[in-house]
């Protein structure tokens, strides 16, 4: 959709502006309203060509993330309610299973052999239970790769998380916290991000029942349960989630409904199953309007860019 007649000086200025906006958004850990403007895709693409990416295999979502989730960086996943811990844990397990499936075909990748360090705070385990290996297997993730760390306090969880992110033998480190962890501010998360970038380990910070807060995470996704779509009759459907991209390096946002095929270890975007959502609680409903609004915003911005050209 890019116009080829764009003036070079204006393009340069735009690039600078976009870069600054991105920096501000990253430093503040939030998505400024004006930063939601669609950035020049060319700028974004050049930025990430050398980064290792873990695509979801869902075109629209991967495009929004600039090709996938950047490996060797910190990403944040949050849920609006703390009782959705298992739902989000399942999403992360699926994501890591996907990474393992991709790595199986690529001998240079590290994710297959390296360990997964899964840290959870005591409060979170009380709230939604502890990791259950047969359940991980059922999602397609090999539990033998996981080192489970049951941290008594949030501070211990974060200490372990930082140590794990600094370790080169770790493919993914997951840290689940529930309580309002004051030790998890912008400075602390920036340290985590730096550790991850230094070692190449990928950090997945799972914050349960939290409002968005400024963090140095490259990406923030909000996960909510999505009603399953039964294949035949009333049978048990595949795991499904509402995934809201709330923050990316590229300032885009949007919402998706993803399904997980554990046999193929593949995500798929599939609409529907939402006919009953209006009956649900306020927390469950939150996802949709935001998703729609974000998509609208993207569309408008795209149109605007064309007009300017």
């Amino acid at each position: 959709m890019r116009s080829t007649t764009a003036r070079s000086d204006s393009e340069g200025a735009q690039k600078v502006l976009a870069g600054l906006r991105r920096d501000i958004a990253r430093l503040e850990g939030r998505l400024a309203e004006d930063a939601r403007l669609e950035l020049d895709p060319g700028v974004a693409d050049r930025d990430i060509t050398d980064a290792r990416l873990q695509p979801f295999g869902v075109g629209r979502l991967d495009a929004m993330l600039g090709g996938g989730l950047a490996l060797g960086d910190l990403h944040e996943v949050r849920t609006a309610e703390s009782r959705d811990g298992a739902c989000a844990a399942g999403f992360l397990a699926a994501l890591m299973a996907r990474a393992a499936a991709d790595a199986a075909g690529d001998s240079s990748a590290r994710s297959l052999d390296d360990a997964i360090v899964w840290i959870s705070e005591a409060d979170r385990r009380r709230e939604a239970g502890d990791l259950y290996p047969p359940g991980l297997t059922a999602l397609g993730l090999d539990p033998a790769r996981i080192i489970r760390i049951a941290a008594p306090r949030a501070a211990d969880a974060l200490w372990t998380f930082e140590a794990a992110l600094a370790c080169r033998g770790v493919a993914f480190a997951v840290c689940e916290v529930r309580r309002q962890a004051h030790c998890l501010d912008l400075t602390a998360t920036r340290r985590l991000a730096l550790r991850a970038q230094g070692s190449g380990a990928t950090g997945l910070l799972l914050r349960l029942g939290r409002q968005p807060e400024p963090t140095a995470a490259a990406t923030r996704l909000m996960i909510a349960p999505a009603p399953s779509l039964p294949a035949v009759g009333d049978a048990w459907g595949r795991p499904a989630w509402h995934v809201d991209v709330e923050k990316t390096r590229f300032g885009r946002a949007g919402g998706f409904r993803l399904e997980w095929d554990a046999g193929e270890r593949r995500f798929a975007e599939r609409e529907g199953g939402d006919h009953e959502r209006s009956v649900g609680s306020a927390g469950g409903d939150r996802a949709d309007p935001v998703a729609v609004a974000a998509e609208d915003c993207v569309r408008t911005a795209g149109a605007g860019g064309q007009g300017a050209a």
Partner: protein, 497 residues
Amino acid sequence: MKLTAVGEAAERLGLRPGQALADACAAVPGLDLHEADGDADRAFLEGIADWCDRYTPLVSLDAPDGLFLDISGCAHLFARRDGKADGEARLAADLVTRLARTGLTARVAVAATPGAAWALARFGETGETRLAAGGEGRALAGLPVAALRLSGDETALLDRLGLKRIGQLIGQPRAPLAARFGMALVRRLDQALGFEDEPLSPRRPAPELSAERRFAEPVADRQAVLAVVQSLAEGLAAGLERLGRGARHLELVLFRAGGGVWRTAVATSRPSRRARDLAGLFRERLERFGERLETDLGFDSGSGIDMVRLAVLETEPLDDTQVDLSGRADATAEFAQLIDRAVARLGAGCVTRLAPVDSHVPERAFALPSVVRAGVRIGGQTDAAGFHRAVFDPALPDRPVNLFDRPEPIEVMAQVPEGPPSRFRWRRVLYDVVRADGPERIAPEWWLDGGSGAHSLLTRDYYRVEDRQGRRYWLYRDGLYERESAEPGWFLHGLFA
């Protein structure tokens, strides 16, 4: 009832252990009496034994009121540099002085055999006694036969026959002595005189390597302790290097100036002799105790610790260099170090692997083996510890990603007797069931339970249900309708993604 022990004041009044309580009360009205507590006495003795570790790692208990310290090879550490006072005397004097500071009166004897030391400490002259090897016969001759650690019956028998002094036994022909009084007497005599070796059984195994530092003034600062640990670790690392071994299990012992010791151990998942790493493990370990450490060690009250010992309890061979051009070994080493630090800080129970177990009872279908003992390996293929790569199998029943340790009771609002609930209340919130799947009937492993009561012995019918928002729950009805239970309870066991 008898007196088992008397204090100094009571002794001056003429009371003796073994005296009948009634006699004692008649002789001295208003006695301050306490019931004897053997366990507490023993625990107290153990405490002193721990504290005596400052002199030698080989301390053995001689209940109810004695300790043996094997100071072979340790005593010279206490010798004055100018050589004017020998180590044994200074060690004994130090022991008595320090114990006196904590309110304990000790009698110490240094001898070449445990038997002679025992006899001299209890029956010899007061004050510290030292006996050179070979002098046992002369030194013990004047002591009563009870000094041979004999039973009351044996002593009484000897006494009746007029054999009151050890000297009277030493010259006797051995065969008749053994025939008349049993081998035990002869053996005790031989042990005391050094004709028969008597091994002591130390309370703790002797460390393979150990390094220690004493302070002239007590230290009451965590950072200072850690600095000492670091420097001791460097010494041990050099020792390990010479042996071509690495440490697997280390212990840090802090000796409180006011008496008592504080010890903590860390294990490594693979042999290591990098001083920085080993010291780092103790840094994490001390961190785990938080501010409690300062209180435990008496830092707040200003007493502090006056000696630090770092000991290697277990080693394994470790090659001089581990070179791997791919850097893979580095990553593995880093990972092992990560695990060790986490274990040091959080405890071994908090850092585990996830191992499937062949059981169809959900809560038994996995184990959490400790990482340290199971060994660290990066990667998921079957390894030495027997972990199998688990693969997705559509034939297996779906299982939740999170499981509760204890299934949580739920209130089922509407149900058909043999079907899933259509509505339930969990943690005060009401959920409408939109979709349900099941039942999956899971019978108890009654042959394992043995009616222990830890798990219910009822058949469970599991249902997977989904609420309106798409949250998915693993519920079960505990017991079969009317056959096992009139009003079966419902539980929430896990949560699906």
